[in-house]
Symmetry: C2
Subunit: 199 residues, 2 copies
Amino acid sequence: MSTTTRLVVLGAVHQFQPVHGYFLRRELMTWHIDEWANIQPGSIYNALRSLKNDGYLAENGTETAGNRPERTTYRVTEEGEVELLRMLRDTLWTVEVFDTKPVMVLTSFMYALQREEVLAGLLHRVTEIDARIASNTYHIGDVASSSSTPAYVREIFELATARLRGEQQWARDVSERIRTGDYVFAGEDGDRPARAATD
Amino acid sequence: MSTTTRLVVLGAVHQFQPVHGYFLRRELMTWHIDEWANIQPGSIYNALRSLKNDGYLAENGTETAGNRPERTTYRVTEEGEVELLRMLRDTLWTVEVFDTKPVMVLTSFMYALQREEVLAGLLHRVTEIDARIASNTYHIGDVASSSSTPAYVREIFELATARLRGEQQWARDVSERIRTGDYVFAGEDGDRPARAATD
DNA sequence: CACTGGTTAGTCAAGTTTGAACATAGGACT
DNA sequence: AGTCCTATGTTCAAACTTGACTAACCAGTG
């Protein structure tokens, strides 16, 4: 399974635990997860089972709400917590030039890391993006001087550059919001992320 | 199979036809396709077979180069040409707020459409992106005033907005390049896209 | 000549994703 | 009361993706 799916499902259980599949399903759909992450409902249940088999999630029992169908709830194991932080940290400190899914994952799950690290990681991204943009200019030069690479391959790099600039601006903006206290990060007192009202 | 994989493989056969799988494999990897499109070599061969079974591609025979292994070459059928243009046109005239794969596909394959349409489509995208950004501000307002949606859902929209702005700038820039004659579009005299020198 | 490592061209089994379908219950409407 | 639609909670078969692996050939080296 893709890293994205595992990270999203593990992160979502971590935030809402103990939690059952259908709640995750609805919540993730409100985040438009199906539009950017190759995740449909079946993928969520498959990920729950796979992560459970790998020891990262554990079943927390079954329960019912009123006369509704019985549901299985999950929680993150200690191994799962370690793996979640590992994946998040890897994502935070790595800039992908062409793939936008990792940074989309950050917008929803970086709060499991500490505020100080996230700020440092975002600052690093701002710098790393500058380096990648500079690197892209050399790729573009190579395409221009190549007699074998189609000229339009330039546009892959041009678009990636334009988008990285947008992402860089977001990183600056969100850093400012985080610095001034927005959101609740690991280790901080504060309410758990609110359950959706329809739970 | 995902629309992206079908479009990429059909588009690549269209550009390089008649062409065998290994050439596509190497060519697409130089375009970093594996980094943003869930396409590894096995997916290319699976797509070739699936598109052939659907009638969009036809085997063009087998050939050998020197003592190398025998290879099967493919070409696009008339149905395939129709489908390719349909998918490309749909992609060109549709702005996705969260998914960046479609516009990445455009950078490599929009040359199968006519120059005039591509310019019109890009202009439309510039406008459509403005609308989506405006729409995103209302989503952000909703998140802020909601007592049930986690506050950080705002960041999904903020990042999408920042990235759309970058894409919008690219659309403007590439439009200018296209308007002044860069690249070769459908119906225009000009060399086929150059084969990679290692063919 | 023999060996080693790289290239060509494609295959393959396991895991993942998709787009419903399924079973049950509740609510609205006639 | 009966019917239809929606909600809950999950499963499922088919198709797709992954990350090698395979077989044959080529080039370089000792």
